[in-house]
Subunit: 330 residues, 2 copies
């Protein structure tokens, strides 16, 4: 059982019932839950003013908890990046704290990676994933549990049949062929990084954008018109970021708005065009994003990535690989 | 009377009545209007596929027209930036062609500035500004006319009383005091650049983002939730772009969406915070953007900028300054 610290670095918590429900569920799971004094603060759209949220991050870092979990995302981290004590974030991570969250939290994760090389976890948020009216997703809970107990050693997922066929065509075109068995090794000892596409792109050109070469970049987004998604991907492409990776992995792109004007322009055509243009594979169907089922991803850690038929397997390097991976086949 | 070339580098033209009306109005004004063969092309949401739009830009450059005017913006330029022949764009500009447009057109303008130093004009688009059902705005037409005939030598505008009071407080705090009369000189021989904020930010980190030091950066946007506007401004700020300018000039930020969750977070608070944080003045009320009344702005040209009471005056350096400026006081 773990000590979990709940804090609010981004948007103000409006759904207090879900907040309480989430805490209650974590307690029922046997965890000791500590709530930051400003977790329910509210100034404009933010969970407290900038200084308050910076202080909340510092308190989370100093809490000695096993896990610090954001209450929710929203918007609020990019504007306080210059004030965050990333050394303290990294020190806490080194001492064993797992920083967990997603969405706007991407800014804290990539800032920490850029400034200190610290590993943080992309994973659930309290309100959206633990406290929602419906029972939390089993896989999401299992993955979080693995992170909490330090058992997380990788993740795997299954692509759709057509997705897999397209990917294998692309892999072949790119000269990535199966070794030994039939597994195609796409990346080894590669830095895993990424997060919410809009937030990743919003850091480009700033000191909080990690300079990762030969990495595995994962991306997700929610509620954007498709043309914006393409514009953001194009920005990362024109900046040379995508080309410098070993693979681009796409999670959920949900609530994407298309209009009559799009006339067939869609996430599908955007992804197909991207895959065609890039000299690196674009791997679909990562269970991560603004979706109920989300795995936990160690942002900043070294990973290996391989594809076998319709299965994708991502393993963290920094773990005892003698263990059985089967139960992580989310 | 001028030779005006109409082409479509971005979104497909859907409102063909407005397209025809715009052309008719330009003809009534006495201009010779040449329409690009692909001006009404349509592939997905675009005015023809990527190669077609790249070719349309090349045809505009080769047309020998006095003015090349976009039919409309939308989305489509960032994804073809690597294929645009910017040398041809610059050569045409040098030979006297005025490239005119706004919104998505910002990508072509900043790409041209970054790659060649060419001056292009932020100004109206055919459909939104000339062909709309309502009669075109007089000032917009006058400014375009000045550009067409090479008479444009500057622009001026009047701030609101409170805006002016705040600006003068900021100018004083920044040590910018009136000389001689009561006019505060904010910038001299400074590169004027900018455009649509989302597009400006979408070029950050790419080879199409101009590296302008000590410039005058103007920005406008439409139809974005306010938090996104702030995130984009924050990106430019964290990248050091805003700090490196002599002034940031704000045009129209229209159809900005706020929600109940914003609780007082608004363009007003965003601009106030920005002005407070920046070591350079933030000058409001530029008549430019997705608004009926828009002046024409020579992106890439050298300008001087001064403030006198509620009036802001921006003059292009490269012009005979003996002329009377009064009739440009839009």
């Amino acid at each position: 059982m773990a000590h979990i610290y709940i804090y609010s670095p981004s948007g103000a918590v409006r759904d207090k019932a879900a907040f309480r429900r989430g805490i209650q569920r974590l307690k029922v799971l046997g965890h000791e839950v500590e709530v930051d004094p400003a977790a329910l603060a509210s100034v404009q759209r933010f969970a407290g003013d900038d200084a308050e949220r910076v202080a909340a991050i510092a308190r989370a870092a100093a809490s000695g908890a096993d896990v610090s979990l954001i209450s929710r995302g929203g918007y609020g981290l990019t504007r306080i990046l210059p004030d965050i004590d990333f050394a303290a974030v990294a020190q806490a991570a080194k001492a064993g704290m797992r920083w967990v969250g997603f969405s706007d939290f991407t800014a804290l994760q990539l800032g920490a990676l850029a400034k200190t090389g610290a590993t943080t976890w992309s994973g659930p948020a309290l309100i959206a994933d633990i406290g929602a009216p419906d029972e939390p997703d089993d896989i999401t809970l299992d993955c979080l549990d693995d992170v909490i107990h330090g058992h997380a050693e990788g993740t795997g997922w299954v692509m759709g049949k057509k997705q897999a066929e397209q990917l294998h065509q692309d892999l072949q075109r790119l000269g990535l062929r199966p070794e030994g068995g039939e597994s195609v090794r796409v990346a080894e000892h590669a830095t895993l990084w990424g997060g919410n596409l809009a937030v990743v792109a919003a850091l480009l050109g700033t000191p909080y954008f990690p300079q990762v070469e030969g990495g595995v970049l994962y991306l997700e987004d929610v509620g954007e018109p498709v043309y914006r998604i393409e514009r953001l991907l194009t920005q990362l492409q024109l900046a040379g970021v995508l080309t410098r990776q070993k693979a681009v992995v796409l999670g959920g792109f949900t609530e994407m708005a298309t209009t009559a004007h799009d006339k067939g322009f869609s996430m599908k055509t955007v992804v197909a065009r991207l895959a065609q243009q890039l000299p690196v594979p674009v791997i679909p169907a990562l269970p991560f994003g603004h979706v109920p089922t989300k795995v936990c991803l160690p942002t900043g850690a070294c990973v290996s990535l391989s594809v076998h038929g319709r299965e994708v397997m991502m393993l963290w390097d920094d773990h005892d690989h003698d263990h059985d991976h089967d139960h992580h086949g989310h």
